[in-house]
Amino acid sequence: MTRIVHYINQFFAGVGAEDAASIPPACAAGPVGPGRRLAALLSPEHEIVATVWCGDDHATTPGAVDEILDLIRAAQPDLVLAGPAFTSGRYGLACARVTVAAGDAGILALAAMHEDNPGVDEAGAIPVVASGPSARHMGPSLERLAAAARKLASREPLTGEDGRINRPARRAVLVDRAGAERAVDLVLARLGGDQAATEIPLLRFQPVSPAAPVDPAAAAVALLTEGGLVPDGNPDRLESARATRWLRYPLPTGGELAAGDYCSIHGGFSTVWANEDPHRILPLDVATDLEREGAVARLHPEYLVTTGNGTSVGNARRFGVEWAAELRRAGIQAVILTST
């Protein structure tokens, strides 16, 4: 019998919604919430021996994945299942990180989420199977997760037919027709009305629901930038292109950025003007005036920065989800992001 630990978030554990997003990891014996239906689909050969959950905001903090993994390991599982996370970005990221950590610890792991979830790109070699877009699709999403879990437990590979979203490692294969012929056939298929014909599915931009408006005079506001503005010398080595990380720095208390103390390491444009006057990238001088005059209630004392130059869509989405969690923890209601 396979021992399974199921990872879910605070909402599906029945603890609470956004109000409970900061709860630390916790554990219970047996299945919880949607895990009950999942356990029924997996029985009798496989048993959910424990369920671990964590608040979605807490799960993004440093060290959280290690805490979660400790709870998972205590249940001595043969297999870890995470999700389904649907389109919840923080939950999907947590599922991806938890299953990657489990994989690194030598435990078989599998995550389920919608194909547009930013967590898909963080899962590395861990298989991710597609779920529906929302909890309304829980039934079929659990069926697919259970079927994939059974295959994985039998050491069979998961493919697109099982709903696998992320691509397994590339294998070179010989095909019978040259690329030129296949490309022409694809064009003809498109002209014939098949809009989906492709050998490589391309990432699509995902529409974002606009946040509700806020009154700036009552709001805490943060300054963000993808202009690669960092302390002179780039001490933390932010990348100039294809950034894989973002950084945070304190804003100087005087309310102005001194030229020479900062530079832009962005590789996508000439940084001469930014280096002459960093306010051309991060408008701290005017933001300070606006705070003093009461146009904004409070200016966040840090800025967040990355380099928006050839950033992969997956990384950009992840930064956005992490920034939102970070800023919400700091009580921020609105941000001004300068884009280059």
């Binding site: 606009p210 001469v272 990238i281 001088d285 005017v286 933001a287 606006l290």
Partner: protein
């Protein structure tokens, strides 16, 4: 617009989004002030999809 950012204030140049080197320092700071004021007005405005908030004109919606 294409990537779906909900509220956008257009600026004058990629290398200086909140600046304008063709202006003298006082003029540049005044332009930066106009941009930030427009940004705060955008934050206070309900939008249904990607919306441009020009400094010069009022808000115009594009799909």
């Amino acid at each position: 617009m294409r990537v779906g950012a909900p509220r956008i204030v257009p600026t004058r140049g990629i290398p200086y989004p909140t600046g304008d080197p063709s202006l003298d320092p006082a003029g540049e700071r005044a332009w930066r002030r106009q941009l930030l004021e427009r940004a705060l007005a955008a934050v206070a405005t309900p939008v249904a999809g990607p919306t441009v908030f020009d400094v010069e004109a009022g808000a115009k919606k594009e799909e």
